[in-house]
């Protein structure tokens, strides 16, 4: 049976692992590196990004018939900026401390390549259900990636996880892990492991001939 495009379930699964935004596509590097020195800021950032991504994908999918080719990026960014303003005001009202700690990285969600690329590649071409499922899957994948990096950095850097200490009090705390260089090095480590594991799985003779879905992003700028 010939299909018109990917189904909602396919898009949902695709976002979590096979096309994980951080490890497979290297998108959204700025929050990935900047707010992962602890689990709390990382999860707040993941939730804010998920809210913006899902809302923006839904709106873009609803207006996809009206988009003009040369103005579409502008429409995407203005849509995203509106939802980011909502998320930012919400954080400032209900989670003031966290909003202070995240600082400029909440408004910087506007220029998170992940959201724009999902609007461009998926939401502006697919129906509402597919676009929403894609956004939820991508958000989960992004949250999982942030959580993995933040876990390594917080445990090694401050000996705690979500603010609860998990290592003995004698743990010296690797200061470098919560500083900027630690962010780069942790990401490289996890990226290398992910690459190595997927290369090993690819060598095993199994479903190599997966049909590439219409939303997939092979040969993207990176």
């Amino acid at each position: 049976m010939k299909r018109d495009g990917p189904t909602a379930l396919e898009r949902f699964i695709n976002g979590v692992l096979p096309e994980n935004p951080v490890y497979r596509q290297l998108l959204g590097m700025c929050p990935t590196l900047a707010v992962t020195n602890g689990m709390k800021p990382a999860m707040t950032m993941a939730a804010a990004t998920a809210f913006v991504l899902i809302c923006a994908n839904i709106i873009v999918s609803l207006i996809r018939g009206l988009l003009k080719p040369h103005l579409r990026i502008l429409v995407f960014t203005l849509t995203i900026a509106t939802f980011v303003t909502i998320a930012d005001r919400f954080l400032a009202a209900y989670m003031y401390e966290m909003s202070k700690q995240l600082g400029p990285y909440v408004p910087l969600i506007i220029v998170n390549c992940l959201i724009i690329s999902r609007c461009e590649i998926c939401a502006s071409k697919q129906s509402l259900g597919v676009a929403a499922a894609d956004a939820v899957g991508m958000s989960l994948g992004f949250a999982a990636a942030l959580a993995s990096i933040a876990t390594v950095r917080e445990i090694l850097g401050s000996g705690s996880w979500f603010g609860i200490s998990v290592l003995p009090a004698a743990w010296p705390g690797w200061g470098i892990m919560v500083l900027p260089p630690g962010a780069f090095l942790t990401l490289v480590l996890l990226l290398g492991i992910a690459e190595w594991m997927s290369a090993r799985r690819r060598r095993a003779p199994e479903r190599q001939s997966e049909t590439e879905s219409e939303c997939s992003l092979h040969g993207h700028a990176h």
Partner: protein, 231 residues
């Protein structure tokens, strides 16, 4: 502290001490994507410096006169329509939307300019020139300026805003050019397979971030030298 010293300190702070790429992680996408050759990387750095200064200038103007709490234009309109003068007018909820609109327009302008006068550079940038719009560094510069315009007792002037954005752009150019120089040499090396491409570039970025941490405290020395010179 006189004006010149504070300008120099803002510039050095943005370019070296708190380098936009290596300390705040903004502008990582082009930093990894356009850093394969030194000349392209330098061109990209110049384009970003240009756009960040233009949009910093425009966004300072908009923030100062329209968006900050108690800005002159909305207060004047509010009183002209007979509103209560004791109420504080604050339009800063609109700032993100207006900033991104200003940035997108200035990128469009730069793209047209580069395509007309530097077609060679235009081809080597490829998709990354329109992507300057989504370069976090540009928006980050405007957000930093906005932060300095919230407290009415110590507002930043246009010269300070320009020093910050120019410094940020120069810092980006330094970082991306160094990175491209290292990566050109790295082409000859035998890198483990899982780390090829982005992985090894991120390792270099981590080491560079460590090196740039060494600039912490430079501002005190510069301040001392400048105040001795200007005395």
């Amino acid at each position: 502290m006189d004006t010149l010293t504070s300008l120099v300190l803002i510039f050095i702070g943005a370019a070296l001490i708190n380098n936009f790429v290596l300390h705040y992680f903004v502008g990582i996408c082009p930093f990894l994507g356009v850093s394969r050759r030194v000349d392209t990387a330098f061109g990209m750095g110049c384009a970003v410096t240009f756009v960040i200064s233009i949009s910093g200038l425009l966004n300072w103007t908009v923030t100062y006169f329209v968006l900050r709490p108690g800005a002159p234009l909305p207060v004047w309109v509010w009183q002209a329509v007979g509103g209560d003068p004791a109420k504080q007018i604050d339009l800063s909820v609109l700032s993100y939307i207006i900033y991104i609109f200003v940035i997108a327009s200035s990128v469009q302008f730069v793209e047209m300019y580069v395509r007309k006068f530097f077609p060679h550079l235009y081809r080597s940038f490829g998709v990354f020139l329109p992507l300057i719009t989504t370069n976090c560094a540009i928006l980050f510069g405007s957000l930093e300026i906005m932060k300095r315009l919230q407290d009415p007792t110590k507002l930043w002037g246009l010269h300070e805003a320009l020093a910050l954005t120019l410094g940020g752009g120069v810092g980006f150019t330094i970082a991306i050019s160094l990175m491209a120089g290292i990566r050109e040499e790295l082409d000859m090396c035998d890198v483990p397979k899982p780390l090829k491409g982005a992985g090894v570039a991120l390792i270099i970025a981590g080491i560079m971030a460590m090196a740039f941490m060494g600039f912490v405290g430079v501002d005190k020395g510069v301040h001392g030298v400048l105040s001795a010179l200007l005395k």
